[in-house]
């Protein structure tokens, strides 16, 4: 037996074939499905919708907060970088304005200036003055670079063109990263010179490694070729090429999402630092950033899943319970309906039988009187009274009349009792009365019938007609199961304080275990093809309940079946349903 079969509600496979055009009203599976779908829909759709909206809103707000923070950090850092470089540029500007070409031409003066720069701004490595022809005239610093010709170099041409040049970071002679700032000074009438300074990038680096970036993020500068200008935590060392693509040029702070070489999604904030070759990049691991969101999301999903589970369980439970109750009520209704039908049929048969009995009784009475008269007349004549054959003949007529009278009387008394009347009943007598009805069949089929009534069984108050009907149905049922020559035992016992039990036990074919619990269901029959309607036992069960009793069955295939009726000794008089008012009258 599968789990489904175990939990399948009773109504699931029920088909009311008799319902005809109203079959849809009794399609309980459909009612159940409709109830489940509608309730689940009404309950779950808003819940899922609200959760989805909340999910979106929360995700968006967390993402936008991250974006805002990143963009703020990028623009602040850019401003700092920009300011740092502008400061140094201004210093150089000041020097070229404050000192004439001639002043700067003095190596001692230049050395002094370098010294001052080192002690005030810091980070300056050397200074050089380049004459209009591109030769480095004076140089203050650790190397000997006087007289170097820069005229053909790209940076020199740029500084002439734009007045300012800030270089990419380069390793320098001592393999320490450096960068160059150069400014041009117009002396007037087309004459000019250039002041060139080399800066080490340590302070620069310090500026970038913002404390806030430390957690799961990385801040660095790159040049336009994607080469690192400052050290990074996870994107390589200075002058390595980063794995991320170089972002597109933009005057503002931008935020993009990119995937790095390892397939990790990164949130990248970047800004082009004005007038420099630098691009500031802050790279944050998206996964790391979204961690609080993942936690919230997990809670949200957990809540949703739990809610849906609870709602579904409740809906399924309630729908199954309610539909099952409707189904049971419908089954009850059907049984009642058939009981009424059956009762009406019985009533009709009752009336018919009573009519027939009456019609027969009248001529029977005439025969009785006429035969009686013949006997009287014969008795008065001596020769006739002595004629044994004559007297035997007339006595045979009279006893046949008596037999007929017994039959019609039994029929009449049986029908007379079919109305609902609570009266004192001797169970043994009632059983014999019922058996007498079936005596012919029992005789033809050579049944051995025994009735045993315990001595302590009291008279009960019940409805005689109902009781007869119940017993008749049960015994008939047993007869149908029995082979010719079978045995039937009827036992009446006192059962507890206020109950009596009547057990009808046959040695017939028995009922399979699978069918046993269904025998009292309406339309359940194993004899449908042989004239059984499947109603007998269901109606019997209904009648027993009406009398406040109970019927149970016990059976073994091949060994026989025993039905046990349990009846109260005292039956309360029940209100009669209106349709039963005409029974058997």
């Amino acid at each position: 037996m599968t789990v489904w079969e175990k939990f399948k509600p009773k109504f699931w496979d029920y088909v009311d074939a008799a319902a005809g055009p109203f079959a849809h009203l009794f399609n309980f599976r459909r009612i159940w499905k409709l109830a489940v779908l509608l309730t689940a829909g009404v309950a779950l759709v808003p819940l899922v919708a609200i959760t989805a909206i909340d999910y979106q809103v929360t995700q968006k707000s967390i993402e936008s907060e991250i974006a805002l923070r990143t963009s703020r950090l990028v623009s602040n850092t850019r401003r700092a970088v920009s300011f740092f470089l502008a400061e140094r540029r201004s210093a150089l500007d000041f020097i070229v304005r404050d000192n004439s070409f001639a002043d700067l031409n003095d190596p001692e003066r230049l050395q002094a200036i370098l010294q001052n720069l080192k002690s005030t701004f810091g980070g300056f490595t050397d200074l050089g003055v380049i004459d209009p022809l591109g030769y480095q005239r004076i140089y203050a610093g650790p190397y000997r670079l006087e007289g170097v010709d820069y005229s053909e170099q790209a940076w020199y041409r740029e500084v002439l063109e734009r007045g300012i040049y800030i270089s990419d970071v380069f390793p320098g002679f001592r393999q320490v990263p450096h960068l160059i700032i150069a400014v041009k000074h117009e002396v007037g009438s087309g004459a000019h010179f250039v002041l060139r300074a080399t800066l080490d990038t340590e302070r620069f680096n310090h500026l970038i490694s913002h404390p806030e970036v430390a957690g799961g993020g990385d801040a660095f500068l790159i040049n336009r070729e994607g080469k690192l200008q400052t050290p990074s935590l996870s994107h390589g060392r200075v002058l390595d090429t980063i794995s991320l693509p170089v972002p597109a040029s933009s005057p503002n702070t931008e935020l993009i999402e990119t995937e790095d070489g390892q397939g990790q999604l990164n949130a990248v904030g970047y800004a082009y630092v004005e007038d420099t070759p630098f691009i500031l990049m802050i790279v944050k691991n998206k996964k790391e950033l979204m961690k609080p969101w993942y936690k919230t999301r997990l809670q949200l999903m957990g809540f949703l899943a739990a809610s849906i589970t609870i709602i579904l369980v409740v809906i399924l439970g309630v729908a199954t319970y309610l539909v099952n109750n409707i189904y049971l009520a419908d089954q009850k209704r059907l049984t009642m309906l058939h009981q009424v039908e059956y009762s009406n049929k019985m009533a009709t048969i009752g009336r018919l039988a009573a009519g027939v009995a009456h019609e027969i009784n009248n001529p029977l009475a005439v025969i009785n009187e006429k035969a009686g008269l013949i006997k009287d007349l014969f008795s008065m004549r001596e020769e006739c009274a002595r004629d044994e054959k004559l007297m035997n003949t007339i006595n045979a007529v009279l006893s046949s009349v008596e037999r007929c009278a017994k039959i019609t009387r039994r029929l009449l008394s049986f029908m007379r009792n079919s109305g609902v009347t609570i009266q004192r009943i001797n169970l043994g007598e009632t059983i014999h009365e019922v058996l007498a009805f079936l005596s012919k069949e029992a005789e033809y089929r050579s049944f051995h019938i025994s009735v045993h009534v315990d001595e302590d069984v009291p008279q009960i108050t019940s409805d005689q007609g109902r009781l007869q009907e119940i017993l008749l149905n049960v015994i008939n049922n047993s007869f149908a199961a029995m082979q010719d020559g079978g045995h039937l035992e009827v036992t009446v016992r006192r059962h507890k304080e206020h109950l009596v039990s009547v057990t009808v036990k046959d040695d017939g074919c028995g009922i399979p275990k699978a069918d046993l619990e269904r025998v009292f269901e309406p339309f359940f029959s194993t004899r449908t093809g042989k004239g059984g309607t499947g109603l007998g036992l269901s109606i019997t069960s209904g009648l027993v309940q009406e009398l406040g009793g109970d019927i149970s069955v016990d059976s073994e295939v091949g060994k026989g079946t025993s039905f046990t009726l349990t009846l109260p000794i005292q039956t309360e008089k029940k209100e009669k349903p209106s349709n039963e008012g005409s029974l058997g009258r």
Partner: protein, 124 residues
Amino acid sequence: MKVLLVDDEHELVSTLAERLSFRGIQADWATNGEEAMRLTEKNTYDVAVLDVKIPRISGLELKRRLHAKIPAMKFIFMTGHGSEDEFRNCSAETGEGCYLVKPVNIEDLIRKMNELMNASEVRP
């Protein structure tokens, strides 16, 4: 004891009257209510045995009329039908046990009539 038998079955009442007479009980018979009423004009009866279903006047109605006329008269109903209603109505009219279902054993009938007569004699 004088008995009045009323039943629409002519053969039945006539034969029954004859058989009763063999047993020393004088019995007159009628096949309908009017006839029965007429008979009571001429004779007095101790017991009336009435069929419940007779033409025109029903057995119950006849019993009421006869009782009004001769209050001392005893009644036994005799019926071929024996339905519950009839049984109850007749029992209400005459008391328990005076309701016999056809065919009736003549000895039973005589016993019943004697019982009724004796009961009336005992009563003041």
